[in-house]
Symmetry: C2
Subunit: 337 residues, 2 copies
């Protein structure tokens, strides 16, 4: 049983065996988005409230070499804000949980919080509490609420024939990670990358910018299907397809890749774009007429990259520029593999 | 700089350097309880919404010997529900984050979720999502929202002269933990505890019952100051006193201890009642006239245990039955010590 199987099993348990909440109409907010999307959501009366959480563990999701404390703080908040952005919402209140080894320095925590405050203030996030616990390994869990005045975008609402698009360049964060990991082991490799490209890729990895503005544009323009790209395009598109019961085809030649990523990794940029994670831009689908309305409002890098098809739910193929078609290789990280 | 110092420092950062949320009146919920209480809270228009998080780490907060998976699931949800109860609210929506070593068995996760579902259904909690990540050590973080129709009870609103009370017997969870830890190392010790007492204490440790009903009674009866007892009475009362800028005195002879805890630990029950954690009942303060109204509505074990005094914020002393007064020794767990 793979990760999907386990998550499906546990999700069935919590939904089917659920008893509540049932506190009466005055003390209930009706749930409108349940397990399986970028956030949960409920109706408060005034607006739809969104609720998400995301965790990083040292040695699994980051190392101190590739991600200094300040950038770690930025990224933790970013990945959660990105989930809110994927629904088309605005982020609001955050709780921060820190698992820390006893040798953690106060100055390190200050740097962590400086990074958290920078990105929080860019997006109007207020940290309103949290928990600090001892742990043999650093982990950080953020719980974040958000708000949407209308209907959030979902993963499950895609239709066959929808075009698939992304809001910006893919693979740059993965390129930055590869660069930093390679630099430690093989100085020749890093020597081949120009300083301009290296700086661009490092910033993409360490300071990803969640697509809040883009999410608002999509949602206001009639897009109803979106998610954020955190595990790589192939993998995340496969999840969207599973939720919507569809297959998808990606056109390799249409995948937007920044010129500096191409320059740095001329042979591997497509793999990075399809399989590299942590880009934190949005993946969305819509009929061609909606897409025509939306695309001109998005900034550089945004592109239609493929289409949705009937077929085995979750299957994603890549149509290469030479006309050959192959399964998208990105299978993402599988906890139980 | 101890744990309090670090938390104060980081709290100052997130409050003073905060920029948001500022999305306009239509897309904002006004924050009414900030960092430092059992939960954060904001006004949705219809009601006050509560937001809390709590984490356990294997080897720090539990071991698999003292806490089987099913009980672990129960306790994780319980400790968060207890924070909501401390505000006088009802729990609502939860996100579950699991940090899991690769060798975790699916059957273990099923047991964990069975325990979570049992306690969730007792209190109308719906698990609406979460995150599952690889980790060298098991950790579980719950993020939980709740709702309150009126004003939540706070830690910071106590007044000099208030009586201090608790909603039930103290120390039983700590007694259960001691019993189980002792049983592994010293069979003589466990032999001295009757089977009835052992069973009672084990259940108190493994299946704590958050005081949601009690919190509702307190809040409806005019109590405005409360928190939950998770780290032990002495320690938690000290936190309440710090928040309210007061000192407190506990009368040792008034601390409610269950007869089976006294029977099992005739020499140590008071230490367990003052310093043992995870009882998850409520600690509250009120003027005598409010207390007289509230106490008859609470069940067995509830008792007035002391009073609040002007003086050094956070200082708690214990008045022993022989008339001598000493500092309450419970200093709780200090992350940086």
């Amino acid at each position: 049983m793979g990760e999907f199987g386990v998550i499906d099993l546990l999700t069935r348990m919590v939904v089917q065996q659920r008893g509540g909440p049932n506190h009466g109409a005055d003390l209930s907010f009706k749930l409108t988005v349940d397990n399986g999307d970028d956030t949960a959501a409920w109706q408060t009366g005034k607006a739809t409230e969104l609720f998400t959480t995301d965790t990083v563990v040292e040695g699994v999701h980051f190392t101190r070499e590739t991600t200094p404390w300040r950038d770690l703080g930025w990224k933790c908040i970013s990945s959660n804000v990105s989930d809110i952005a994927a629904m088309g919402g605005l982020p609001m209140y955050a709780l921060v949980t820190l698992g820390l080894p006893p040798e953690t320095e106060v100055s390190e925590l200050e740097q962590l919080y400086e990074g958290m405050m920078e990105i929080s203030n860019e997006h109007g996030v207020a940290i309103v509490g949290g928990d600090m616990v001892r742990s043999p390994v650093v982990f950080i869990t953020i719980g974040l609420t958000g708000i949407h005045a209308g209907q959030p975008m979902l993963r499950s609402t895609a239709r066959p024939g929808d075009q698939v698009a992304v809001t910006g360049y893919l693979g740059s964060s993965g390129g930055g990670l590869r660069l930093m990991l390679g630099a430690g082991h093989d100085s020749n490799l890093s020597d081949q990358v120009s300083e301009e490209a290296a700086e661009y890729l490092r910033v993409c990895h360490r300071r990803p910018r969640p697509a809040v503005a883009e999410g608002r544009i999509l949602s206001a323009s009639g897009v109803v299907t979106a998610m954020d790209v955190s595990d790589g395009l192939a993998d995340d598109l496969s999840k969207l397809c599973r939720s919507s019961g569809l297959s998808a085809r990606i056109h390799a030649g249409q995948v937007p890749v920044h010129p500096l990523l191409k320059q740095a990794y001329p042979d591997d940029y497509l793999d990075l774009a399809l399989g590299g994670g942590e880009d934190y831009l949005l993946l969305f689908t819509a009929p061609a007429e909606v897409m025509a309305l939306v695309m001109p409002q998005l900034s550089q890098g945004a592109a239609v990259v493929g289409e949705l098809l009937p077929g085995e739910p979750g299957r994603v193929s890549v149509l290469d520029v030479d006309g050959s078609e192959r399964p998208a290789s990105g299978a993402g990280w599988d906890h139980f593999r």
